[in-house]
Symmetry: D2
Subunit: 292 residues, 4 copies
């Protein structure tokens, strides 16, 4: 399938979706894009070529594959099942891939709807951030049937370096939650460690040298310790998104019975960061709520 030229619709040409759709063009596919704010779709077409559709339904008509990367559950429901949503316009046998980070519940619901309509569907939230989207090196965590995954995998190769089929519908979303839960603990631990080092008047570069090779090491330490020490947060994965994602995990935990004491606490700490105006800052700005 990867060598075929496909008719692909991409819904949501934002920070993540824009470059992902761009990679699909580079992979040789025919793209039609739809975005709520039309201007963004127009700009995308100026950059990459392809067509703009006026509604998700219009975009989805005649498409072999429809992808979405929108904001949250409501947004996703609207562009798929809403009045001008994509689902009713998609041809039997077409493939739907969603890259939005949403609840497992809506992922499962869309899978059921898709099945009823004879569509293949995959929930495939990504990690790797804006830079990963631009570089085409995202990780995609996928839920869906084997058939759906097999169909989706070669397409996602255009922008994802690591593509894992975890399990049935919703498994992509719950895996993304696992990811965010782990991050919450890491970043808070790192924040406390850094502030403690500063309170101890230690040279934070030397501390990094000493501790970054062992059992305390983490991607966050390797990539954020230095910027946190310099109070630099204007980049990366936004606190607002993190709160949304932790909210999804906490909601899902109400269903699956898992307990998340520190993730829930960190979620509240992020609320403090938001309140102080840091909603658009990188998640490592969690450190800013700890007094220096």
């Amino acid at each position: 399938m990867s060598e075929q030229k496909l008719r692909i619709s991409f819904i949501g040409t934002g920070v993540m979706g824009g470059p992902m759709a761009g990679h699909l063009v580079k992979a040789g596919h025919d793209l039609t894009v739809y975005n709520r704010t039309r201007a963004k779709a127009d700009a995308w077409v100026r950059d990459y070529g392809g067509a703009v559709a006026a509604t998700p339904a219009e975009a989805a008509k005649d498409a072999d594959v429809v992808l979405s990367c929108v904001g949250n559950d409501d947004d996703l429901a609207q562009v798929t099942l809403g009045r001008d949503g994509a689902f009713k316009a998609m041809a039997k046998g077409a493939l739907f891939i969603d890259h939005t980070t949403v609840s497992a519940r809506i992922a499962r619901q869309l899978s059921v709807e898709a099945e009823g309509l004879g569509l293949l569907s995959v929930d495939a939230p990504v990690s790797g951030g804006e830079s990963g989207a631009q570089a085409g090196t995202l990780s995609a965590m996928c839920g869906g049937t084997k058939a759906a995954f097999d169909a989706a995998e070669p397409i996602m190769r255009a922008y994802a370096a690591r593509i894992t089929h975890i399990g049935g519908p919703g498994a992509g979303q719950t895996t993304k939650m696992v990811n965010q839960i782990a991050i919450a603990g890491v970043v808070e631990g790192l924040s406390e460690a850094l502030r403690f080092a500063q309170a101890s008047k230690l040279d934070t570069d030397k501390v990094f040298e000493a501790v970054s090779g062992g059992a305390a090491a983490s991607w966050q330490m390797l990539n954020r310790w230095g910027t946190m020490a310099k109070d630099e947060f204007d980049f990366g994965f936004a606190v607002d998104w993190m709160r949304k994602d932790l909210g999804l995990a906490l909601d899902e935990a109400r269903v699956n019975g898992a307990t998340l004491p520190v993730a829930s606490l960190v979620d509240q700490f992020y609320a403090e960061v938001q309140k102080a105006g840091g909603g658009r800052k990188d998640t490592s700005s969690l450190v800013t709520r700890l007094p220096k």
Copy 2:
């Protein structure tokens, strides 16, 4: 200095100190060891050669260098400043290196005492665990004067792969605390993430595949996710030691003013693990207090 054959005393031939002292023999030095439980010192000598002393003072007499790796503050005070302690027997200009994880306060106190006696001293807690001690690949985080560090560094090369001079007396200990604080957050985040994955009935191997390459990755994830998923905890760094270390960090934070919400919470969670009989288990057994 590293090429010189030195007279070295090692106090505390336990899990960590034993192999460390062994590496010093292999590096060509003359070793005299002391251990509270004499049998352990005797066994060490059978393995490595060298002499056994009856007291720290006896061991320290005529030594160029005295090292210690005992249990806690009280132990360290006893073997250095106690009635038969090493300090009073050490010759002017001799070097003292402590590898015990203790409070910054006692590290600073020993430095002051050492200075008064004309000794050089370094606080150099290590990380890397039993396996690191055996392989000679420990990390040593060092506090002390430049002169003391410069004298100590070539000796530590025998068993440490990463040796960092962080700052003045106590800086080694506070850096070790930074390390443990970071670990507390990482391990709790990882524990919650794993239990959430299990509650979601995800294949934990596939989840690992999906999330271990990105922003959620950590040494703990790479080295403990698999064993945690299999409920294997009979190895590694013991919960009892971790509680001691977190206790040191929490005490120091009362002095330096840092706030450690999650480290303090995780310390209490470890208390639950201890209460359930897990004091000797690896720190990753933190996950066991989360219901499955």
Copy 3:
């Protein structure tokens, strides 16, 4: 109004609603009740007289006042705005009082719908539990216009001892959240205090005598310390309800920007209690997750 005989419909004759509706009969009103499980409504009528309706709409027709005390947001939406919901059947100028603990959002939404239909409406969640409902000594926290509150107040006198008009629509619900947030902290503090006393082998009766008159005192201490010490939890306000309520507060906090670190943590601790089978136990069973 309180002396008038009114036609009143009560929707949801459960643990709370049943006795509340009973008090309205005793106050001299004409009651029609509706309950999802018909048998419960029938049993109620055997006890108190009055009529049973087949749907909320049927109950609401010709009623001067419609009250509800159902389970959650979905339930409330169904019995008011649903296909056979009460709202479309109510006469202009009729009064709607909801006693369910629900989100502020649905309370505000119902207020808007009611206004559009020319109805008066009050959100009036209660506290005081089953025993308060039976004794007619509940506290009602009310949101709505002054006109709506003034109309509702004399009716609620039948079963509420403390009736407070807090503010506009939704203010009753957010006040109930305030109540539950405060309780979460109190009960966790009390739980830790009790376990600490037990771990210290103190006589818990004597400890109670010593501390229950001062700054540590609380309703929970005065009413639950003794039962907690005896591991008695088969009564009172259920953990499942508490989690629902804390969930409402945590959701509302995402909107109003408040931060709830300990309420969120306690909510997770309650998840552990649920997981261990304690969902129907009193909230004081929070103590059971702390090792003895």
Copy 4:
């Protein structure tokens, strides 16, 4: 004994000890006082009469009863067992009562020392604050033998309204810890509740009216909600003392095995308050770290 005129020494005429000693004068006893800062003892004598001693030992000589209310463990050790400490000067059969809030360990140690010297001793930390000391309405939580308690009880009647014998040596101190642990949860819950009410734009007086009579009620709510709502904190029990006390409880928990997740977290939150300069403010200032 209460009707007898006794020779009493009081060590530590600070905020608490000063008025307590004053009540003993009013009860008809002969007082000798000692205080580290002599001026405070002199001022006390100007107010109440009696004599000033130059050292604890001097004060203790010929005394029937020695009482202390100093700062912490080190202070207490110094005034009892130190070079000029009271113990060596006390006559066989004399009674020692300590009102300082200290560790159970030192309380037990003093009891052992006292027994060796043929003294009776009681650990009797108090609650009720400065106003309780002045009004003579403190609560005293007592540990010690029955004989010691029976001797101490009539003396304490001069300034304590509630005097409870909990158990053997140290039981007074561990009971005080129980008290502080409970308070930590209550005050944090109250703080979150208040900020939530404010974030919801509720009239906090009305909220108080609605919730202060039920299951959320507490001494803290009844006495602090109003002042917290007005950001008034210049009175009451200082954050610095609270941190000391929580520190004692957390240390004791390491020994008795209790787990204190929220007490430990609140202790860290108080560290934030201290860092922001609030160390001398009332404990209810915990609310100030939550963003408004």
